[in-house]
Amino acid sequence: MMSSVPRPARLSPADLIRLGMVGPRTRTLRSVLSALGVALGVAALVAVTGISASHQAHLLDRLDRLGSNLITVSPGVDVDQRPVPLPKESVAMLAAVAPVETVSATGATQADIYRNDLVPVTQTNGLSVRSARLDLLGALRGNLRVGRWLDRATERLPVVVLGSEAADRLGISGPGERVWLCGKKIQCGWFSVLGILAPNPLVPEIDSTALTGRPQATARLGDDGTPATVYVRTHPARVTDVQAIAGATANPAAPNLVSVSRPSDLLKARAETKTSLEGMVLALAGVALAVGGLGIANTMVVGVMERRGEVGLRRALGARPGQIAAQFLIESVMLGLFGGTAGALVGGATVHLYASVKAWPTAVSLTWVTAGPVMAVVIAAGAGLYPALRAARMSPTEALRSA
């Protein structure tokens, strides 16, 4: 009687994973080092995208606090590129629009601001002097860095409240210091600093402005009551409606010569743009991933050569070439998975650390946290393919003899 040929058997997934661990268990340090490359790549991917997402979350957060219902109305330019001033009534007209909640404005003056009376008049530092209504700070939801805001008494005095940028450019650090206000059509004089505003990303033009009270500006700085910029807070749900009619309301005679904008749009757009630095770091992360793949490929090739004896033995124990290939491919994939997961963890921790130092909310991009390890696995699988096939193609006798 001829006995029947035994049936070929398959390896269970658990057995395959155990086989994939044979190499890393034997050469742990080498395996960890070889997974370091993809780990770095994935960590960089997760960190850069996470830090940028955290920064964006921070900006949008701040935008939320500053309110996205602010509309600015300012003079447009005519065909000759000359600014067309807003009518004096425009503030009252805008305030009469139903969904408008608050209106405030700055007024133009004839003055420029200098550190002292010795600075040449042409050196204006790009700063402007405006008159401010008392409710301006509230309308902008602005904050003071130091000092005080204008009130009923101080709006009549020769005092200024400086935007943060204006204070920095003039070299003023606190209230009480004096600045020199001067202009062709006005009488020059000393003003003392009452307070300095915190930066306001919603209305960056205020940052480089010095503000005085309206009575003082009218009396000494040539403010004729023409608004420089009107700031309009609307009902949050009616912003676009108000935006659409603001031009015609402010200047019914020439609606097209009014510039209307919603600063939060700009800020949001800025928050969402990617910087070129980010692109560069992402490219570097890609390079690290590729180099990491080469590292894994190298480790696997060396491992297969060193383990010829094991390959020959497994063939003698009944392994088919495909099972040998699967073993080494899985080992490679596990290196990628290990590196990728470790990298994602390190990247996430980096984002958290950076964000908490900057007092930003932590926003780790879930897409990259999953895509990173997946990319690492795909790269590792590619890297392991050649060594795995090479192991599978070894002749068992040669493998046993040369081991």
Binding site: S3, V22, P321
Partner: protein
């Protein structure tokens, strides 16, 4: 020679192995050999005579250039690659001079690995590995790693791994080659013991004295069978016994 079993376990007919090259290497030049179930065969011959090549052809690790090999009545040339692999997994055990134990695995894990490609589940593999280690006298060394074992103990683990699947044929290529004479002869005693329990064993050895103690000795020279001696008084009882032997 009357066969106790009508069908031999192993039958080689005019087996030739030539490695191509300039000039081609004629390693085996027409081997005829019949091995019955339960036999204990020593394969002897000078270095380079083709003993290892013969064993790997018998073990299906390589194909002959021409000629036929029948294992349990199956012509190996007619089996597919995966059938051949399954045959190795279930019916043939190998023992090598270099042991080939996995350094990061314990004795039990190494032995259980001998069943990995048979389709047996992990728990059963482990149970059978423990039994096999007890059979070779290493019941106290289950959790030891190869580096914690002596050479003789390592070879016992390797033998347990070869036997854990209860193969019909055990092939050993110089199993004592890396051992001192005391542990070497205890390994031979172990193989002899396994043979009396029913496994067919073929052992390549350089040790003439050891070979003399085997009931059958096949001499290979220049890729041919130079002699094939069978004792009438087998199985022998003492590994050092070197009795007179009639030429077959």
């Amino acid at each position: 020679m009357t066969a106790p079993c009508p069908e031999p376990l192993l039958l080689l007919e005019n087996v030739v192995k030539t490695y191509p090259g300039h000039p081609p290497v004629h390693v085996l030049r027409g081997i005829d050999l019949k091995v019955r179930r339960g036999e204990l065969v020593a394969v002897v011959g000078p270095s380079g005579s083709g003993k290892s090549t013969l064993l790997s052809l018998i073990g299906t690790l390589d194909h002959p250039s021409s000629g036929r090999i029948l294992f349990e009545g199956h012509d190996l040339a007619h089996l597919s690659g995966s059938e051949i692999a399954a045959l190795r997994a279930h019916r043939i055990g190998f023992v090598f001079q270099q042991f080939f134990l996995l350094p990061a695995q314990t004795a039990v894990e190494n032995v259980a690995g001998g069943l990995l490609y048979t389709g047996e589940g992990p728990r059963r593999r482990r149970e059978r590995a423990v039994e096999a280690l007890q059979d070779v006298g290493l019941g106290q060394r289950l959790g030891h790693r190869p580096e914690q074992l002596s050479g003789g103990e390592k070879q016992r683990v390797a033998i347990a791994r070869a036997l854990v699947g209860r193969p019909a044929l055990l092939l050993a290529d110089e199993p004592t080659g890396a051992l001192d004479s005391v542990s070497g002869s205890s390994i031979i005693d172990l193989l002899r013991d396994l043979n009396t329990k029913g496994t067919t064993v073929m052992v390549i050895t350089h040790d003439r004295e050891l070979a003399e103690s085997f009931p059958r000795r096949v001499g290979i020279q220049d890729g041919q069978v130079a002699f094939d001696d069978v004792d009438d008084r087998w199985p022998a009882t003492d590994s050092r016994a070197a009795g007179t032997r009639p030429r077959a």
